[in-house]
């Protein structure tokens, strides 16, 4: 590398540059906190009716590792359908979504070698909570209404 740049200069660029861009990142994060509240549907989380259910749904979502097969808003595993918009895909009807989940977790063995969802031992109350959680995620306002199609 050129002789003009000394090791000390390179080191200072490293420290100074990293610090500057980290602070910039923190500033952008601060701004993001202010801006996401417009579309993140946090109101639902505070809602006396469904807030508790959504929280429970998120917990069940996590404690069963649903993300290990599915994506949620494009993040997760690529083995099973996107669920960030499953509420919309199934016709924006909460009862259809509940019935779909119940159908999947009660599906008997078919003998056909297709991808399967495990038969999670979930109560009706837990399924309701999961459905409310998925409905909440589907209502989060994403840029350009991602995903591009309702197929996810």
């Amino acid at each position: 590398m050129s002789q003009i740049l000394t090791k000390e200069m390179a080191r200072n660029i490293f420290y100074g540059g990293s610090l500057f861009f980290f602070l910039l990142f923190l500033a952008l994060t601060y701004q993001t906190h202010a801006d996401i509240s417009k579309g993140d549907r946090h109101q639902l989380l505070d809602d006396p009716q469904v807030g508790e259910q959504i929280r429970l749904g998120k917990k069940i979502w996590e404690e069963n590792d649903c993300i290990g097969c599915h994506t949620l808003l494009g993040e997760g595993a690529y083995f099973a359908p996107e669920l960030g918009n499953v509420y919309v895909r199934l016709g924006s009807n909460i009862d259809t979504l509940k019935a779909r989940i119940k159908g999947l977790i009660n599906m008997p063995a078919t003998g056909v070698p297709t991808r399967r969802m495990p038969r999670f031992p979930l109560t009706d109350e837990q399924v309701d909570a999961l459905a409310q959680f998925l409905k909440y995620v589907s209502e989060i306002k994403t840029n350009r209404n991602w995903p591009p199609t309702k197929q996810g």
Partner: protein
């Protein structure tokens, strides 16, 4: 081996390789489940295999990084490790914790594991890559603190080189950003936002410092090029890494409910992230061309050059491929992501780990400089088998991804997810077959440790002048 205490690195390297084998076996299970959906169902559901595959990967890379630090810090600092006993103790704690966690994944349903480990007290489970029970996460923090104290004190009492400082900063950052795995807000947008502070700021931030430092160390040793030159390169590379990579986190904030301006910040900064990877390639080849000696460890040199090339391809090229917001709109969360994830992880972090293992293991096993020729030949075969298969795995996944994007997201009549998966299953079969070749390469790699250890060895020789 110049310092006795460097020996603590050896169990770390051995455990790393063992977990690597486990990772690949579970990768192959998943690869088969992609095409034969009910394979091992319900005994090992896909998500469980995936947890084992990715967590084994992360744990073995951490083991390799720690082994690397325990090996190179005494040499750089020109002093014995401060507390070798602590390093050995932490090794066993880490190994047992990892073993119990994997046993937990495989033996009980995940929800049961969450209950058994009292996830309720401090919920952190159930997110991609961060599936470990909270107690395991706490264990990782303890191990990391003890480790950092150990090498930190060693550096303080000895010579302070750029290589060891950069390594230390990288490892400190690794520990600090891991703390975000304990933050789990109810708000899904914020949850995702800070999840990337672990994942992205690791692989495209602080881990690159670790990568750069290990690469610099090995290049100093095998090429004999002046330390001043190599350390200047190191600083320039990691400066570019953090200057582009921190704000580059924005390439994950396009479609998760975060504001639109992230499409600009993310696209512009992450588009520059390939630069440090490119510099790393130029750097490695330059140093090897300017070498002052011909080190008999040809395999280690090959791994070092391989890292530089494959990291650039996997992270730089395949990363750039889908990093601009208008492209990512279509590719987000598809097999394109998986293609990139595989080649980047392999090219950067798997290969740098195998580089330092290749360099250090012969010395740790009491040899003067390198493994015998027979062993090196086998190791170089394994290099080519694994690396070429990873290139093909990436190409097949990219093919699958392009078709998936077209059929599911772009064509006039978008097809449902599972119907698309059915249509592109040929690519998954090819990926699986290539995965078997990868496994063969890995078996040869393991075998290379057992070959010709009694053969006599060649010494380091000066390079012919003007070489």
């Amino acid at each position: 081996m110049k310092y006795k205490s460097q020996a603590v690195a050896k169990p770390y390297f051995i455990a790393a390789i063992a977990l690597f084998v486990a990772q690949i076996l579970f990768g192959l299970i998943m690869g088969l489940q992609y095409v034969v959906g009910d394979f091992l169902f319900p005994e090992i559901p896909f998500n469980v295999a995936r947890m084992v595959h990715t967590n084994a990967l992360i744990v073995w890379l951490l083991m390799a990084f720690m082994g690397a630090a325990y090996y190179l810090i005494p040499e750089e600092s020109e002093t014995e490790l401060a507390m070798p006993w602590l390093a050995t103790l932490m090794f066993w704690i880490f190994l047992i914790a990892a073993g119990l966690t994997v046993a937990g994944y495989l033996l009980v349903p995940y929800a049961e594991l969450a209950k058994m480990t009292m996830n309720d007290l401090l919920p952190t489970m159930g997110r991609e890559f961060l599936e470990q029970p909270t107690v395991t996460k706490l264990g990782i923090v303890v191990v990391a603190l003890a480790f950092l104290a150990n090498i930190g004190i060693t550096i303080l009492k000895g010579r302070k080189t750029a290589v060891s400082l950069v390594l230390l900063i990288g490892l400190l950052g690794l520990a600090v950003f891991f703390l975000f795995s304990f933050y789990l807000p109810d708000n899904v947008v914020l949850d995702k936002y800070y999840w990337w502070w672990v994942v992205h700021l690791w692989v495209e931030g602080v881990w690159e410092l670790i990568l750069g430092a290990i690469l610099a160390f090995v290049l100093i040793r095998v090429t004999g090029v002046d330390r001043e030159v190599i350390e200047k390169w190191l600083y320039v590379i990691i400066a570019m890494t953090l200057i582009t990579g921190i704000v580059g986190t924005g390439h994950h904030y396009y479609w998760i409910g975060t504001p639109e301006y992230w499409q600009w910040w993310g696209s512009i900064f992450s588009a520059m992230e390939p630069i440090p990877f490119f510099m790393m390639t130029v750097f490695a080849f330059n140093m090897v061309n300017k070498r002052r000696r011909n080190h008999p460890n040809k395999a280690a040199t090959l791994w070092a050059l391989g890292t530089a090339v494959m990291a650039f391809l996997g992270a730089g090229v395949w990363g750039f491929l889908h990093t601009l917001a208008p492209v990512n709109y279509y590719t987000h969360g598809t097999q394109i992501t998986a293609a990139h994830g595989h080649m980047a992880f392999y090219g950067a972090y798997v290969m740098i780990s195998l580089t330092i293992i290749s360099y250090a293991m012969p010395l740790l096993r009491g040899r003067e400089a390198a493994n015998p020729a027979r062993s090196q030949v086998l190791e170089m075969w394994s290099f080519w088998l694994m690396t070429v298969s990873m290139v093909f795995i990436t190409l097949f996944l990219t093919g699958a991804g392009i078709l998936q994007v077209y059929l599911q997201r772009y064509s006039d009549n978008p097809m449902p997810f599972l119907a698309v998966q059915e249509k592109i299953s040929l690519f998954y079969w090819l990926r699986e077959i290539t995965g078997v070749v990868f496994l063969i390469g890995l078996i040869l790699y393991v075998a290379s440790f057992f070959v010709g250890q009694r053969d006599p060895e060649k010494a380091v020789e000066a390079a012919p002048a003007e070489a």
